[in-house]
């Protein structure tokens, strides 16, 4: 296939208007019956294999053979209503892992189920829960999902199982921040299964447990889906929320069994046991059949071999997606940002645009956070029922939202972690037919490394997750909540696995602060506030900005975004892309959390230039440690968008700049700083490097520490922020900041300094032991042609580390 076929500029109508491509609800999956899809994909794959240009850019083509399913009978005791419901969905036997989960849960064991996408994971928890409620209508279950979108998806899924209560008489209710006040009481009182999220459990349900007595006193099961998302600080909070839940449930006489599900990570069983503080049975023997799968690593061909410029991942993804879509193959494209998601979707639709054949009867949608829930539901439904053949998404579709089977997944750029790559690639794949996942590398060093070293990409185990629930900051916060919920007897086990270390110290501290009162052998809440309100489980703010379309006197909410992103995406005069329509921002009203936009037809989109900056507020202590000077104190991490670029559609040329005047986004936190004073061993080692190597070498050590430290600090690498300075304005020395990426800090900076010798030793031995030649993502990071560092960054970093830590 020649490139001409995919030429742009054939759109017969204005490309920027909402309906520039045809949206047909009449087009259904029947046009692409499975037979055709299978043949179609096989045909396209054969074409690709024979396409010399394509084949030349492929660095690895991995065939994963089909796998037979392994099955088990539906348990004999299964309620007839449930059995019928299953059979109407074509299920007359279970996969072995579903049966194993069912049996384990029935035996009262906590379980964690780890199987790939589309392996019938939801039945692993729904079957035992529904069966139990049918046997014992007073029994209750709580389902926790990390996002509202997943909750809504699960509510829809469960509703089809119980058929709105007609087939299986069970009442399911969602209880989250979006539940109207008028429905809350009935959800509490009559919902047999409550679907919620950890944040609501923490700040809404547990502090108000007297309203939930009926529910909590009969709580038999707690389902925690996507448990791998509870890592680092978020996971440490989650553990404490579970401690509180268990404590209150026990107060009302209940001891629930936990059913967890996880995506593939290195240590799902251990993570689940850390969060539940109970033995957990790991179920990872996937019994679901899988069709043959192709995994292709693709490095776009050079446009300019001399300068090393390759074709962009956006256009390459569009080209490949079109090839699949025109072959009748249901395709998902994962993009790395919201803007890219919109761009790729609109480029695909523009290429398809044709009024005479209804865009070739192919409907492609974009999908990301920030769309209205109804829009998202409609897209998900369209994907399930086949009326939408293609979708371009951010990682919003990476988690378990049900969008039915897809045949091709295109990753427009490496998503940042192996675990994410596996999740995204796993979106393509059905039980019977062949599927394909293609990773298209961008120019970023990490991407280039992955496609350049396929063995690394394929052989690497996904990242591990760590938590530290007894972190004194987090523990103290949750002890406040726990005492608010019920007086804590002296010596009472707050944690699940015996008394948490540091409990007494925290209680004494809180009593001294006057927040608790110790009297009559127990601690009581002695403050007028509502503690859960001030404690957020996540670092991200929950504030969001509503986007209002004011075109032609309209006043219609079209979407929303979180507040920090609003500054990057919705500054005045920004171009906002929303499902193929272009808007220009007339006014961003941050105070009232509103953004007014109007439709526009500018030929460009906008990209904010974000400046990050770190300011030292206060130094608590300085001491020599591990051959360098260190400092510990308060810092202000600032993010400012001061400028934006205008980028022309299609060509992606920069066609101008604009100014942005918005207040900075600030985070006050704690940082540990390594100061490379030339009079210290470390400082001298750095000074010995050629000047142009110093900055990149320090930056790479920062990255290295970020990779190693989570094992020691029991956090996630995202919980640690890194910034390097060649000559810091405050310390007037080269330095490396390691800051707590959590407003206020949760002690990571302090803990880092405490464990610094071990962390540095581990970092050094990691680089020494790494089998890579010149640096890879596991050690000092891959080569970056833009850096003025030696041919091998590894050698430069090693020479620094060796001299420093000798």
């Amino acid at each position: 296939m020649g490139e001409a076929e995919f030429a742009d500029g054939v759109a017969p109508v204005a490309p920027t208007r909402r309906h520039f491509y045809f949206r047909s609800s009449a087009v259904h999956g029947t046009i692409f019956p499975d037979m055709k899809t299978r043949d179609g994909l096989q045909a396209v794959l054969t074409q690709l294999e024979q396409d010399k240009d394509f084949a030349a850019a492929v660095t690895r083509w991995e065939h994963i053979p089909a796998r037979e399913g392994s099955y088990a009978d539906i348990p004999v005791e299964m309620h007839s209503a449930l059995r019928e419901s299953l059979s109407t969905r074509g299920i007359d036997r279970l996969y072995t892992h579903q049966r194993q989960a069912y049996d384990a849960v029935r035996a009262g064991h906590n379980v964690v189920v780890v199987t790939p996408t589309a392996s019938g994971k939801t039945l692993c928890y729904n079957l035992p829960v529904l069966q139990r409620i049918l046997e014992e209508p007073d029994a209750r279950a709580l389902y926790l999902f990390p996002t509202k979108a997943l909750s809504q998806d699960q509510q829809a899924e469960l509703n089809t199982v119980v058929d709105g209560g007609r087939r299986v008489p069970i009442k399911i209710a969602t209880y989250d921040g979006d539940t109207p006040q008028s429905l809350r009481a009935s959800a509490r009182d009559t919902g047999q299964i409550i679907i919620s999220n950890p944040d609501m459990l923490h700040s809404g349900i547990l502090p108000n447990h007297p309203r939930w007595i009926k529910f909590l006193g009969a709580l038999r099961y707690v389902v925690i889906d996507e448990i791998h998302t509870y890592r680092g600080v978020f996971g440490s909070h989650m553990t404490n929320v579970i401690r509180r839940l268990r404590r209150i449930a026990q107060f009302y006489g209940a001891d629930p069994v936990f059913i967890c599900c996880s995506a593939t990570i290195a240590n799902p069983g251990k993570l689940a046991e850390s969060i539940l503080e109970r033995p957990v049975e790991l179920i990872d023997n996937n019994g679901a059949p899988a069709g043959e799968k192709h995994l292709i690593l693709y490095n776009p061909p050079f446009v300019d071999r001399v300068q090393g410029i390759r074709r962009g991942a956006v256009h390459e993804s569009r080209r490949l997606a079109l090839r699949f879509l025109k072959g009748g193959i249901k395709t998902i494209v994962f993009a790395r940002s919201r803007v890219r998601t919109e761009l790729i979707a609109s480029y695909i639709n523009k290429s398809l645009a044709n009024v005479y054949n209804e865009n070739q009867r192919i409907r492609v949608e974009s999908y990301r956070g920030g769309y209205l829930p109804t829009e998202r539901r409609a897209i998900e439904r369209g994907l399930r029922d086949g009326s939408i053949q293609g979708v371009v998404s951010t990682n919003a579709l990476e988690l378990g939202i049900d969008i039915g089977g897809l045949d091709a997944a295109i990753l427009a750029g490496f998503p940042g972690s192996i675990a994410s790559s596996l999740q995204q690639a796993g979106r393509a794949g059905r039980s019977q037919s062949v599927s394909v996942a293609v990773l298209i590398a961008s120019a970023a060093p990490l991407d280039q490394y992955m496609v350049g070293n396929p063995e690394y990409f394929l052989g690497r185990t996904p990242e591990a997750a760590y938590i530290d629930p007894d972190n004194p900051y987090i523990l103290t916060d949750h002890l406040k909540c726990a005492v608010f919920e019920l007086p804590l007897r002296a010596g009472e086990d707050y944690a699940g696995a015996g008394r948490a270390e540091g409990t007494d110290a925290a209680l004494t501290y809180l009593e001294e602060e006057g927040v608790l009162r110790f009297t009559g052998g127990a601690y009581y809440w002695a403050d007028r506030s509502y503690p859960a309100e001030q404690i957020s489980l996540r670092s991200a703010t929950a504030d969001n900005v509503v986007i209002v379309d004011t075109t032609g006197g309209r006043h219609e909410v079209i979407g929303e975004t979180d507040r920090p992103s609003a500054k990057e995406l919705l500054f005045d005069n920004a171009i906002y892309l929303h499902r193929g329509t272009q808007y220009v921002v007339k006014q961003l009203d941050l105070a009232n959390r509103r953004c007014y936009v109007e439709e526009s037809d500018a030929g460009y989109y906008t990209d904010a230039v974000v400046k990050r900056d770190l300011k030292v507020l206060h130094v608590d202590e300085r001491r020599a440690l591990c051959g360098v000077e260190t400092s510990l104190g308060d810092v202000l991490v600032r993010m400012q968008v001061a400028k934006f670029k205008k980028i022309r559609f299609q060509t992606h040329e920069n066609v101008g700049y604009g100014e942005i005047s918005l207040p900075e986004e600030e985070m006050h936190t704690r940082a540990a700083t390594l100061l490379f004073d030339p009079t210290t061993v470390g400082g001298a080692a750095l000074a010995a490097l050629p000047p142009e190597f110093r900055m990149p070498a320090v930056a790479r050590i920062g990255g290295l520490i970020k990779n190693v430290a989570p094992v020691f600090l029991l956090c996630d690498h995202q919980d640690i922020g890194v910034a390097e300075r060649l000559r810091d304005p405050h310390f007037e020395l080269p330095c490396l900041y390691l800051y707590d990426n959590y407003p206020g800090g949760i002690g990571l900076a302090e803990a880092f300094l405490e464990r610094m010798p071990e962390i540095l030793a581990a970092a050094s031995s990691l680089v020494h032991g790494c089998s890579c030649a010149e640096g890879c993502p596991s050690c000092v990071g891959p080569r970056n042609p833009e850096e003025e560092i030696d041919a091998s960054p590894k050698a430069a970093v090693l020479s620094l580390l060796d001299a420093w830590l000798a």
Binding site: P207, P210, G520, W525
Partner: protein, 484 residues
């Protein structure tokens, strides 16, 4: 003698409480004042002086504060470990027996005026009541009992005591009790394994909101007292400070730290009682046909009650804020609602209804009133006329709302009367068509139809464009079938 006049004649004097004799309160108020740790100068003088600045014809019942109970936290008796209480009795004039506001079958002896002081400001399991006040009308006096929790471990005893003092048959009068006071006590009982529903409640916040929302700067009880009842508290502590005082008391153990809190709490209950008296009198006098502007109480403090809300209150048997049982049912009230033992004095359902009707009719045709209020009034009236088969009155009201105020719900009702009662199918269809045209042209001009279910009344249902299309299609089918 009107209630106003009689109240004016009163000087409320504290009397020793029956459960907890208070030696101090029997002495002169002036000496009682000396017990106060925090009392300000202006509070110690008799109240007549304060009356000067306010409308002179307003009763002085509010001057109850010049008493020992407010002077200090005196007279508490230990009931159980960590639980104390005191009772303070205020003599009242013989209250006129209006029966237009609370349903006629609720006996006054069943009323309990309830208010709490709590350790927190929000809700949640960590918020406890440390001071519980119960006010009862006992033969021409108001008896207020304050129950104090001296420390957390006494809560079970506090609850056990309340259990003995509150019968499930009592009607709990409160200000925001539905969402706060009663809800909180219910939670505390629940946490201690007891079920206490508080099914019979009358939360006066609701009627105050509907009658005075647009007339008061806000609906807090202190604003109601100051702006509506003309009460100025001699000593007062902002309610939000109460938790801090309590924590201080817990740490230091000196009951005088709670002096202002107890005084504030006592006045809250008294204010609640005054508010109830006001609402009874407002409804009673309105039902007897007094002009609304003369009902502003105290004169000059605040604009008269919202005539639409007052009209609706008199006109219907529903009472906003009333929870519990049969009293809300129209037939119960309709058959007299007599309460054994107590003669029903001023209760005449028909006169209340007819005065309510007068107020509503006036409101509908008064161009000085917000059109939203006029619509509500008109729909209430029309619905009533419909329900008792007065089609021509209903027709007139709906016709007016539809023609003058372009009210869609009225248009739908009008078309229903035309269709079902008057058999004028063509006219009915024409009205629906006109409404559809109007909504169409509204949309073409870029405006949105604002006929959402804003009033929350079921009569608004059926006004969506889709529902109108259905109605029209049905009418047209009927016309072609020649049913007219």
């Amino acid at each position: 003698m009107s209630l106003h006049e009689r109240l004016r004649a009163i000087r409320a004097r504290p009397r020793p409480g029956s459960a907890a004799p208070d030696p101090v309160s029997t002495s002169e108020p002036a000496s009682a004042a000396s017990h106060s740790a925090v009392r300000s100068d202006q509070g110690s003088e008799p109240a007549t002086e304060r009356a000067v600045g306010v409308a002179t014809n307003y009763p002085t019942l509010e001057r109850v504060p010049a008493d020992a109970a407010l002077a200090g936290p005196v007279g508490f008796t230990q009931l159980a470990p960590f639980v104390q209480s005191r009772v303070v009795t205020y003599a009242l004039p013989a209250l006129e027996d209006w029966r237009y506001f609370i349903p006629a079958d609720i006996g006054r002896s069943e009323l309990v005026f309830l208010d709490l002081e709590t350790t927190g400001l929000g809700g949640g399991a960590g918020n406890m009541a440390f001071l519980v006040g119960l006010g009862r009308l006992v033969s021409n006096s108001l008896e207020i009992e304050q129950v104090l929790l001296q420390d957390y471990p006494g809560e079970p005893e506090l609850l056990a005591y309340l259990e003995t003092r509150l019968s499930p048959m009592d009607w709990v009068m409160s200000y925001n009790g539905i969402n706060f006071d009663c809800a909180l006590l219910r939670d505390r009982f629940a946490m201690s394994g007891q079920h206490r529903a508080f099914e019979r409640q009358f939360d006066l916040l609701y009627p105050v909101r509907s009658l005075y929302r647009r007339r008061l700067s806000n609906c807090s009880l202190s604003t109601v007292e100051a702006e509506l009842l003309g009460v100025q508290r001699p000593v007062d502590l902002p309610g939000a400070w109460a938790p801090e005082r309590y924590f201080q008391y817990l740490r230091q153990g000196d009951i005088h730290i709670l002096g202002e809190v107890c005084a504030h709490h006592m006045q809250d209950i008294y204010g609640l009682f005054l508010l109830w008296v006001h609402l009874e009198e407002l409804c009673g006098r309105a039902a007897q046909g007094e002009r609304l502007d003369s009902l502003a109480a105290p004169a000059g403090y605040v604009a008269p009650a919202d005539p639409v809300a007052l009209g609706r209150l008199l006109f219907s048997e529903r009472r906003p804020g009333l929870r519990g049982a049969s009293h809300e049912l129209p037939e119960y009230v309709a058959n007299g609602g007599s309460h054994s033992g107590e003669p029903v004095v001023h209760y005449d359902n028909a006169s209340a209804r007819s005065q309510g009707e007068v107020l509503l009719r006036k409101a509908v045709y008064d161009r000085n009133i917000y059109s939203a209020e006029r619509r509500e009034a008109g729909l209430e009236l029309g619905r009533y006329y419909n329900s008792c088969g007065s089609w021509s009155e209903a027709y007139d009201v709906f016709r007016y709302l539809y023609a003058e105020l372009s009210d869609r719900a009225a248009g739908v009702e009008l078309s229903k009367i035309l269709e079902h009662r008057l058999g004028r199918l063509g006219d009915a269809a024409e009205i629906v068509r006109a409404m559809l045209r109007r909504s169409q042209s509204g949309r073409n001009r870029g405006y949105r139809s604002n006929h959402k279910d804003s009033t929350g009344s079921q009569i608004r249902a059926g006004t969506s464009t889709e529902a109108l299309r259905h109605r029209l299609a049905r009418l047209e089918r009927k016309i072609t079938r020649g049913e007219s």
